[in-house]
């Protein structure tokens, strides 16, 4: 092999080495460039999942609240009916007592 050929081989290999480094730099740049969008995607996924879970919690609470309210309403309506019924039956007694209070106080 002549000296010129040897130099050419070395220059070629150095050119190839420089290209390898340039490619590596480009790839590293590409990796770093993708970082922002990866972070954004990752954040959106986490927040969307949390929002979905939160919305489900609120919906469940609304349903639970409705069910509990209905149950309470049923009990309360029964209680009110009983109170009204008992009180209505005692109206006469109450009137007698009040009349006695009014007429009996100073009479």
């Amino acid at each position: 092999m002549s000296g010129i050929e040897t130099i050419k081989i070395i220059v070629d290999s150095e050119r190839e080495a420089a290209k390898m480094l340039a490619d590596a730099d480009a790839k590293a740049l590409e990796i770093r460039k993708r970082l922002d969008s990866l972070i954004q995607i990752q954040r959106n996924e986490a927040l969307n999942a949390a929002k979905k879970e939160a919305a489900a919690l609120v919906q469940k609470a609304e349903n639970d609240g409705k069910a509990e309210s209905l149950e309470y309403e049923k009990d309360a309506e029964n209680r009110i009916r009983t109170v009204v019924s008992r009180a209505s039956a005692k109206k006469g007694e109450a009137v007698e007592k009040l009349v006695a209070l009014i007429l009996g106080m100073k009479a």
């Binding site: 590293a28 986490a46 609120v58 609240g65 009040l98 209070l101």
Partner: protein
């Protein structure tokens, strides 16, 4: 392998290693940044969830609280209707008593006597409503009042009727001092007590 071959291989191997380091560093730093961002996003997501939990609790509490309040008002309204009815019936019954001379006369004697006692004067004017002025035997009323122990009181009956469903106003001769013992005043004065007593009987309160 020739010396040149070895040399070029070394150049390429070194370049390859360095290239790998560059890429590895980029990947490592990216992964690190990604992990940090992930932790930050997780905290944000936890905040969203935490707010969601608080909102959910509020929604449920509000719903139940509204229902309780609405039913409490309904119960109060039903009780109030019954109490109002009882007070109206009581008023009607008291007015009926005022129309029944047998029951009312003794009661009126008591009201007049009590008024005279309270005003504490030797001479008084007794004011009655128009029905009592027509129906009640005023001489008998005066006689009955005179039976009460104590000093003799001069009683004058006003010819001007008062506006009342029954009862009496006892005043001084000059009208400056008055004891109001009408049924309406008695009802008004006793109303809060009547409500309490009725509440005890009707609702056990």
């Amino acid at each position: 392998m020739s010396e040149t071959g070895k040399f070029t291989e070394e150049i390429l191997t070194a370049a390859n290693e360095k290239a790998q380091v560059i890429i590895n560093e980029a990947e490592t730093s990216t992964q690190h940044a990604l992990n940090e961002a992930k932790m930050h996003s997780a905290r944000e997501a936890e905040d969203v969830l935490s707010n969601g939990r608080a909102e959910a609790e509020g929604v449920k509490r509000r719903k139940i609280s509204e229902t309780r309040h609405r039913l409490k008002l309904k119960e109060q309204s039903e009780k109030s209707k019954i109490l109002t009815d009882v007070l109206e019936q009581t008023r009607a019954r008291v007015n009926d008593v005022a129309k029944d001379e047998n029951k009312y006369f003794a009661y009126l004697v008591g009201l007049v006597s009590s008024g005279i006692s309270e005003i504490g004067l030797d001479a008084v004017v007794v004011h009655l409503n128009s029905r009592d002025l027509k129906q009640i035997d005023l001489n008998r009323l005066e006689r009955e009042i005179a039976k009460n122990p104590g000093k003799a009181i001069k009683i004058e009956f006003s010819k001007e009727p008062i506006v009342a469903s029954g009862g009496v106003i006892v005043s001084s001769i000059d009208g400056k001092t008055r004891i109001v013992n009408t049924l309406d005043q008695r009802f008004e004065a006793l109303e809060s007590k009547l409500l309490i007593e009725a509440g005890k009987i009707l609702f056990g309160e």
